[in-house]
């Protein structure tokens, strides 16, 4: 059994990605295209083909009329950003430390589920880390409830 990573993407036009593109351009970030997908970390001992088949049969994550699935790396590649939710460390269930300040220890068991954003520049190339950082800070990640992972 080992950890495998699968990305599920829409095969139809992605309105959210298009909206993100428009909003990022309005915020002064020069990009020409945005792609979005869901990345799942899955423990599997079978082949990639068997893994993808199991994902495609999971109707909670996959609609054969709308989605495509492929295996991929578990870290963001060039021009990619992984965003995942954090919490509810910040919910009412937080504890308080010895100083009476809110303390966080509780997290959703969602460490292996991400939204992946892929950004492309005017020439169709994947954008630099600097552009990713700007997109992260301007729109794609709210640090109050999410965290982003960028390429090394």
């Amino acid at each position: 059994m080992s950890r495998h990573w699968v990305e599920v993407r829409l095969t139809v036009p992605d309105a959210t990605a298009f909206t993100a593109l428009a909003a990022l351009r309005r915020l002064g970030i020069d990009i020409s295209r945005v792609e979005r997908g869901s990345v799942y970390g899955i423990d599997s001992s079978g082949s990639d083909a068997a893994l993808l088949e199991s994902v495609r049969s999971d109707v909670s994550r996959f609609n054969i009329n709308l989605h495509d699935a492929r295996t991929r790396d578990g870290v963001p590649g060039e021009g990619e950003m992984f965003v995942r939710e954090v919490g509810p460390s910040t919910s009412l269930r937080y504890a308080r430390d010895d100083n009476g300040s809110p303390s966080t220890s509780l997290r959703y068991a969602q460490d292996d589920t991400f939204v992946v954003w892929r950004l492309f520049d005017e020439e169709g190339r994947r954008v630099s880390r600097e552009v990713l950082e700007r997109a992260r800070d301007a729109l794609l990640c709210n640090a109050a409830c999410e965290e982003a992972e960028l390429p090394e």
């Binding site: 309105a15 919490g87 509810p88 919910s91 269930r93 809110p102 729109l139 640090a143 109050a144």
Partner: protein
């Protein structure tokens, strides 16, 4: 131009913003008018009309289909330029449900740091992220004079409202939560009928049992539950808002 009277107070123009996907604008504008507010709907294509308005209300709904995060796209809509500019200059701004989410994504509340930074969110409910539709009770958690918008309420005022959201849990980094508490940014909390504030009264796992947040200056209020949907008990908050606009 003053066009109506709430009590003996002059009333100024209130804009109820309509983004693509806003769906509570009609009842909101009618309620404001009922209390004597000179309220009008301003759609996203008419953002040029906003600077002349004295106050802004962001109604509930699903602006831009909640794409990326609830309120994230609307927070950067052209209409928000006038709202942000007005808020910085002291105009009153009141967001309900999706409107509250937009105000947080725009960094107008809680405003715990200098400048306009996004430091908190009304995000997915906990322990499950299910949509909550539940009658709740809100309790004023600050001195009414902390904000002009709450100034007409009694200390510790409680009133019913409808929680109708999947993303209403206040979330922030622990240090921000501490600032929110210390700075008296939590305007409203969820409470039981007897006034007890606890987990059971809180339908969404919200930090600090928070149902509504104020900015530092007290002129921007973001409330998740729909008080306008419980007339007349809950709508006292809107009455208080209209009076505040008249006084401003």
């Amino acid at each position: 131009m003053a066009s109506a009277v709430a009590g003996n107070l002059p009333v100024k123009r209130i804009a109820v913003l309509v983004f693509p996907g806003t769906n509570s604008e009609d009842e909101t504008v009618r309620l404001l008018q009922l209390y004597g507010g000179d309220a009008e709907l301003v759609h996203w294509s008419r953002s040029a009309a906003l600077p002349q308005c004295a106050a802004y209300v962001l109604a509930g709904g699903f602006a831009y289909e909640d794409r990326i995060r609830a309120g994230a796209i609307a927070a950067h809509d052209a209409m928000m330029e006038s709202v942000i500019d007005g808020a910085v200059r002291g105009k009153l701004v009141f967001g309900v449900c999706n409107g509250a989410q937009i105000l947080l994504e725009a960094g107008l509340v809680p405003g715990t740091e200098a400048g306009r930074r996004v430091t908190a969110a009304f995000t997915k409910n906990a322990p499950t992220a299910a949509f909550v539709c539940k009658r709740v009770r809100l309790k004023l958690a600050v001195d009414p004079e902390r904000s002009p918008i709450t100034a007409s309420l009694e200390a510790g005022a409680m009133f019913p409202a409808w929680a109708a959201h999947a993303e209403g849990r206040l979330a922030a980094r622990p240090e921000t939560l501490a600032s929110i508490e210390q700075g008296q940014h939590v305007a409203f909390v969820y409470a039981r009928e007897n006034g007890t504030v606890d987990d059971e009264a809180t339908p969404n796992g919200s930090a600090l049992h928070c149902a509504g947040l104020l900015n530092r200056e007290g002129n921007v209020l973001a409330v998740m539950p729909h008080a306008e949907r419980v007339y007349p008990q809950g709508s006292v908050l809107f009455e208080s808002f209209v009076k505040a606009v008249a006084r401003a």
